[in-house]
């Protein structure tokens, strides 16, 4: 489109010259080509998702007979039957379980990460370098490595088949990535505001709550957003620690319908997958504004 603005603007009454017309045609062709290509690649990327939504309204028989995403005989049976599940519980129960895992975990993460990051970013204490190195080391360590020792630990404490193994590590700032993210954000905020608060008579905790946390908000929203989406999609964690069906989150429940039926009711699985995607998408779009604000603007005017 930029090419169009390159052409000098003429007074309204005069007809465009031949050269101008040529330039305009060229600019038009170029943008049609660019946008066409972008749309095409975009479609290829998003097609599986479109197909997922379309297929959730198909019958089980139709699913594999055509590659198109538009259902010939749209039906809600996938949703209705899928919602019932083959267990004594409806899918609603599993959604509640998921939220019951996510909400305390997200809150715990936000609080613990803020405290730990504030400590690392703003205070000097003995052993700080070593401790910070440990945090970064955890960041680099693959999760799988700690699974077995963690499992044994939680088994000995007696927390198996409860949500505690999913909540507690996060509430103790176990997610080094988030701690690191908040530290980086904090380092970019000048200390003057905190110093002004101290001169105003605020204690360390008051400074954190009244001054630092509001300035950290964009980073904290990003942390919560990531934690929400990752926990929603987490399969391995619940699989290892949760054994009774009544405590299953959505991610495990989806797998359940594959296990228990002989001929897989794919339309039910897909219908429930669509529902499972919805909360993450909804939360993302709600938080998007703050998320982008957090990236594009600092809280300070020079």
């Amino acid at each position: 489109m930029a090419a169009i603005t390159d052409i000098p603007v003429r007074k309204g009454s005069e007809p465009p010259t031949a050269i101008e017309l040529k330039h305009r045609r060229k600019a038009m062709r170029s943008s049609i080509l660019r946008y066409g290509l972008l749309t095409l690649v975009g479609l290829v990327m998003i097609y599986p998702l479109i197909w997922l939504v379309g297929a959730s309204f198909k019958t089980n028989a139709e699913m594999f007979s055509s590659a198109g995403f538009w259902p010939k005989e749209p039906t809600l049976s996938g949703y209705i039957e899928g919602w019932q599940t083959s267990t004594p519980y409806t899918f609603g129960k599993f959604f509640v379980n998921t939220l019951w895992i996510i909400i305390p975990k997200t809150i715990g993460t936000a609080i613990s990460c803020t405290l730990v990051a504030y400590g690392f970013a703003r205070f000097d204490f003995p052993g700080k370098k070593f401790l910070f190195m440990t945090v970064i080391a955890t960041l680099l360590l693959p999760n799988v490595v700690t699974r077995i020792p963690q499992y044994l630990l939680f088994r000995d404490i007696g927390w198996l088949d409860s949500f505690l193994p999913l909540w507690v590590p996060s509430a103790l700032a176990g997610d080094a990535f988030f701690v690191f993210m908040v530290i980086q954000f904090l380092r970019a905020i000048p200390r003057d505001m905190e110093e002004a608060a101290r001169v105003d008579g605020a204690t360390t905790l008051q400074t954190l709550v009244y001054i630092v946390v509001p300035m950290l908000m964009p980073a904290l929203i990003s942390v919560c957003l990531f934690q929400f989406m990752w926990t929603m999609n987490d399969f391995l964690g619940p699989l290892i620690y949760i054994s009774s069906v009544e405590k299953y989150p959505v991610s495990l429940a989806l797998k359940l319908s594959i296990d228990t039926t002989e001929a897989f009711a794919w339309n039910q699985i897909l219908a429930m997958s669509v529902l499972a995607l919805a909360p993450s998408l909804a939360v993302f779009f709600m938080a998007q504004k703050y998320f982008i604000e957090g990236i594009s603007s600092g809280g300070v005017k020079g």
Binding site: D192, M193, E195, A197, R198, V199, G201, A202, Y210, K301
Partner: protein, 375 residues
């Protein structure tokens, strides 16, 4: 309102770097004290130690009757205005002003009254419901001053508060702050102020007294006139005054008057200077302000002959740069008295006004021409 005393205050950082070397400073109750010096002279560090934002590694800081070395900033009875305002970005102006009182647990109506009073003094009533990002630099600065004022502190601390403003606004704010200081004094609640700046114009126009610092040492503490007319050493002489004082090596011989020789030429600076001197004859540093250097035709009696190196037309005056041997001089001449035909490379004569000349010891830089002068 209280007196502020620094006794042998030192600051040594963890890496062994000593930034402040045992400074002593008394700021009287209600006094406007300016700390001035080039970058890295530890003036801000000193201010931050008074505020409690830096630890004090030696000596004692007293505010009123209390030693405050180990008190947290909030308990010292101080308020501070920061260079980049440091307003809380997420709070409206009203809450920015009242935050300090809110932390002290003051009731809401009391905070509202105080906010109203302060915003009236600083003419920021219309800004109370704005966020800091909606303020211009000058407005933000006034809010920052208001935030300090509202607490009725014993000591006000200003850390280069005007350096982010443009020249015009800076001049206006300068007047506003000094007016405020006078107004508080007139209202019977004088404010003790410590004001840090690197700008000598701010220092000279605002300070009751000025403390000139260099490399963590105090070079001189005096009122602006004394600082200008009787600088204690070559550093202060060179730092205060625009353009800088001419400081050139010369050889002193005393006969009837004080003869100064440089580049093989000798001028007599007169009896008055000779009487003020307490130094043996020999090499010295001659200090003479550009305004006290006369420009005469080359070869005039009792003048130094030099070569013009540059001419700067400033409007009402002309800065004439000239070299006598290796020594560079600047002379300020009123425009109307200046010979417009003077060109670069011309020979000119420079006369030294003995009553305004200073002589500094070569090694210590101390002013050795202050005998009999009141200090």
């Amino acid at each position: 309102m209280a007196e502020l005393q620094l006794k042998g205050v030192e600051k040594t950082y963890g890496n062994g770097f000593k930034a402040v070397h045992g400074i002593n400073l008394d700021v009287k109750e209600g006094e406007f004290m300016v700390l001035v010096g080039p970058s890295g002279c530890a003036k801000s560090t000193t201010l931050r130690m008074i505020a409690g934002l830096e630890t004090v590694t030696g000596g004692e800081i007293r505010i009123g009757d209390n030693v405050v070395n180990d008190l947290v900033p909030g308990k010292r009875g101080i308020a501070m205005v920061f260079q980049n305002y440091a307003l809380y970005p997420h709070m409206k102006v009203r809450r920015n002003l009242g935050f300090g009182l809110q932390l002290r647990g003051k009731p809401k109506d009391e905070i509202a009254t105080a906010t109203g009073e302060v915003s009236e003094i600083l003419e920021i009533e219309k800004l109370l419901d704005r966020l800091p990002k909606q303020l211009s630099g000058g407005q933000a600065q006034r809010v920052a001053v208001g935030r300090a004022l509202i607490k009725h502190p014993d000591v006000f601390l200003f850390d280069e508060p005007l350096s982010n403003l443009d020249a015009k606004l800076r001049a206006a704010m300068r007047v506003r702050i000094t007016d405020l200081h006078k107004r508080l004094k007139a209202e019977g609640r004088p404010a003790t102020v410590v004001y840090v700046t690197h700008d000598q114009v701010e220092a000279m126009t605002m300070g009751d007294r000025i403390c000139v610092m260099k490399d963590g040492h105090i070079m001189q503490v005096a009122d602006p006139v004394t600082l200008y007319e009787r600088p204690a050493n070559a550093f202060v002489a060179g730092f205060i005054g625009m353009p800088e004082m001419n400081l050139v090596p010369a050889v002193l011989t005393r006969g009837l008057g004080a003869q100064l020789t440089l580049d093989g030429q000798t001028v007599d600076a007169g009896d008055e200077l000779a009487r003020r001197l307490y130094i043996q004859d020999g090499p010295v540093t001659l200090g003479i302000r550009p305004q006290h250097l006369g420009v005469v035709p080359a070869g005039s009696p009792n003048s130094l002959t030099g070569t013009v190196t540059n001419i700067e037309f400033m409007g009402h005056e002309v800065n004439l740069h000239a070299k006598v041997g290796n020594a560079a001089f600047v002379a300020v001449v009123p425009s109307e008295a200046f010979d417009r035909s003077t060109q670069r490379g011309d020979r000119v004569g420079l006369t030294v006004s003995g009553s305004h000349a200073h002589v500094f010891d070569v090694s210590s830089g101390e002013n050795v021409s202050l005998k009999g002068a009141l200090n």
